[in-house]
């Protein structure tokens, strides 16, 4: 009879031996756990889950029609464009609450310039993008130069930009109905840019705004994953003081991140105006929260330093499918909001299963 308790001996051995250099303990973990330590698995799992739900509750087969997926992509595009900028800011360790309001200002300015003043798109779009970038740089300046909390600085810009949108528009929706001085309305034609952007191409198979969204994802991915400044972003968000002491221009990083976020908000504002065929000064309220939800759903950490654009693409599709599935199943708005909230919490908790 050999009753040596092997487990005890192992413990003793572990105490005596020097600690291994790397954590070579994967043998004790289940395959599922190992898989879930990979960030892309964690990002894709909620998407798959939502897709399975869609396949089950397919609303008499309409989930299997390409049109449903195309519409989902179109509907999530504006949120997705905001989420691109939000990802950049969150990776540097900040947050940008101003994106929805900047979207509103830009939608209004774009509508005034192109519908009421009849500017050509070539002049209106750059000016609107410039306006959005300026708003973003305003947040960035406060965060980088004056070291304000990103939450406070962008909250201030959010309120300010909403006020700006109302002031510029006079509180009215800017549409093709133009108010005459005598109180009557005259109707003008919508400029061609509106139909050109709110349009489906490639045999009606994909919306132009979706292509704009995908282009934004691609550009931001190049910035983050391929350019030197992308590394600066991750370093700043990962450990700001260590990055600063390694000679990384952290103020420049923050300016660029918030500036890019403002620029992308302007792009989203133009897309929103085109889809609504008007510039609504209330456009984009609470959109910042949807953008944050998309980023978090993709698995980008709010602590900064981790994540990426492709995760945000996956997150956008997850949120988009969730909304679409609830709407094709004719779930009422009240339960839809409650369900969306619960599912976001569940997904984020689920993703935290690490180590």
């Amino acid at each position: 009879m050999n009753e040596t308790p092997t487990a005890d001996r192992e413990i003793l051995l572990n105490v005596r031996e020097p600690r291994p250099d790397t954590e070579a303990v994967s043998g004790q973990k289940s395959v599922l756990r190992i898989a879930f330590e990979r960030p892309w698995v964690r990002a894709l799992a909620p998407l798959c889950f939502v897709l399975i739900i869609g396949a089950v509750f397919n609303a008499q087969g309409s989930f299997f029609k390409w049109g449903t997926h195309r519409d989902m992509l179109r509907q999530v595009s504006v949120y997705g464009i905001l989420a691109c900028g939000m990802t950049l800011v969150i990776i540097t360790g900040g947050i940008d609450l101003a994106v929805g309001s900047i979207l509103g200002v830009c939608a209004v300015i774009f509508s005034i310039l192109s519908i009421h003043l009849g500017w050509s798109a070539w002049a209106a779009i750059p000016l609107v993008v410039l306006a959005g970038t300026t708003c973003g740089l305003l947040s960035g300046g406060m965060v980088a130069r004056f070291r304000m909390q990103p939450f406070i600085a962008t909250l201030a810009v959010m309120v300010f930009a909403r006020g700006l949108a109302k002031w510029v528009s006079g509180g009215q929706k800017i549409s093709s109905a133009v108010l005459n001085p005598d109180g009557s309305y005259k109707y003008v034609d919508l400029p061609r840019i509106f139909s050109a952007l709110d349009h489906k191409i490639l045999g009606e198979n994909i919306a132009v705004v979706t292509l704009i969204f995908l282009a934004c994802i691609g550009l931001c991915r190049v910035l983050l994953a391929k350019l030197r400044w992308g590394r600066y972003f991750y370093a700043t968000g990962g450990n700001e003081e260590a990055a600063r002491l390694s000679g990384i221009p952290i103020q420049g990083v923050k300016l660029l991140a918030y500036g890019m976020s403002g620029l992308l908000s302007a792009v989203a504002g133009i897309c929103q105006a085109v889809q609504e065929q008007q510039g609504d000064p209330e456009a984009g309220s609470t959109y910042e929260l949807s953008a944050i939800a998309i980023v978090v759903m993709g698995g980008t950490s709010l602590n900064g330093g981790r994540g990426g654009m492709l995760f945000t693409l996956v997150g956008a599709m997850t949120i988009g499918y969730l909304e679409k599935i609830l709407s094709i199943n004719a779930v009422g708005e009240a339960s839809r909001l409650m369900l969306t909230g619960s599912i976001i919490v569940a997904a984020v908790l689920f993703q935290r299963v690490r180590k």
Partner: protein, 262 residues
């Protein structure tokens, strides 16, 4: 026993003072470091001794520009006047600063080994702004071999490395910037005995390569064994200077405590 040819002066500090950050607007300034002068030659290790709060760490931070511009005192690198401005400018001028808290301010724990090694010299691996992974891999691989860093692969998160290997990554980051002057704050803190010895050997090797090292250590054998000269600080001022031969534990401790005669 180290024997290295001592060369020309690489770092010269003359009357440098570091004010307490933020305390300038009201009344008298208080100082972290007051009128410190010292020089470090190529191939030399100067030990900067002092108790916690003596201002030796703050002196290194000040030289490196972590407090921004400093009004009082002059610094010269390789005989040329150097205006303290920011860490970024210091790195470009050939200064390197290893912090004493590698997890807090030294490394970016969420990034990989290679990414941390190239962090302070990204220009070399991203000509025209475009990161070239194969160049980064080569740089990291060279240091992993030279410093004997043990890791599963080059993109492994540094958070999962042991203390000694993390410290070597932090050192590799600074060696890759090809600095003239290394400012090392506690280079062997929280490092196992084996790695400690390897780090001593590396430092000796670097002095042979012509680096000038200004080092803080709270371990007496390390100070007496490695440093060619020892500068002792107390309450922000230099209280004693010793050559290698004359320094003893008692003398250094006495100067560090400064049984204030004044």
């Amino acid at each position: 026993m180290r024997r290295t040819k001592i060369g020309a002066v690489r770092l010269e500090i003359d009357g440098l003072s570091v004010p307490k950050p933020g305390g300038t607007s009201t009344g008298r300034r208080s100082w972290l470091v007051r009128e410190v002068s010292l020089s470090v030659r190529a191939g030399e290790i100067v030990g900067l001794a002092g108790l916690e709060g003596s201002g030796n760490s703050e002196l290194l931070r000040g030289i490196f520009g972590a407090y921004g511009k400093l009004q009082e005192g002059k610094v010269a690198i390789d005989g040329e006047r150097f205006d303290i401005h920011s860490p970024r400018r210091s790195v470009q001028q050939g200064l390197a600063y290893l912090t004493s808290d590698r997890k807090g301010t030294g490394l970016i724990l969420g990034l990989g080994l290679a990414e941390n090694i190239t962090l302070a010299s990204l220009k070399a691996v991203s000509p025209a702004l475009w990161m070239i992974r194969s160049m980064e891999w080569k740089v990291a691989n060279r240091h992993v071999r030279a410093l004997g860093i043990r890791a599963a692969d080059l993109w492994q998160e540094v958070a999962t490395l042991s203390g000694g290997n993390q410290q070597k990554v932090a050192l590799a980051k600074w060696i890759e910037t090809r600095p003239g002057v290394l400012l090392l704050d506690e280079p062997t803190r929280g490092v196992d005995v084996g790695s400690k010895h390897e780090i001593y050997e590396l430092m000796t090797q670097w002095t042979k390569d012509g680096f000038a090292i200004l080092m803080i250590t709270s371990e007496m054998p390390e100070l007496l064994g490695l440093a060619d000269r020892i500068v002792v600080m107390h309450r922000g001022r230099v209280t004693a200077r010793f050559g290698r031969a004359e320094a003893t534990q008692e003398k250094v401790l006495k100067a560090a405590m400064a049984d204030e005669a004044v």
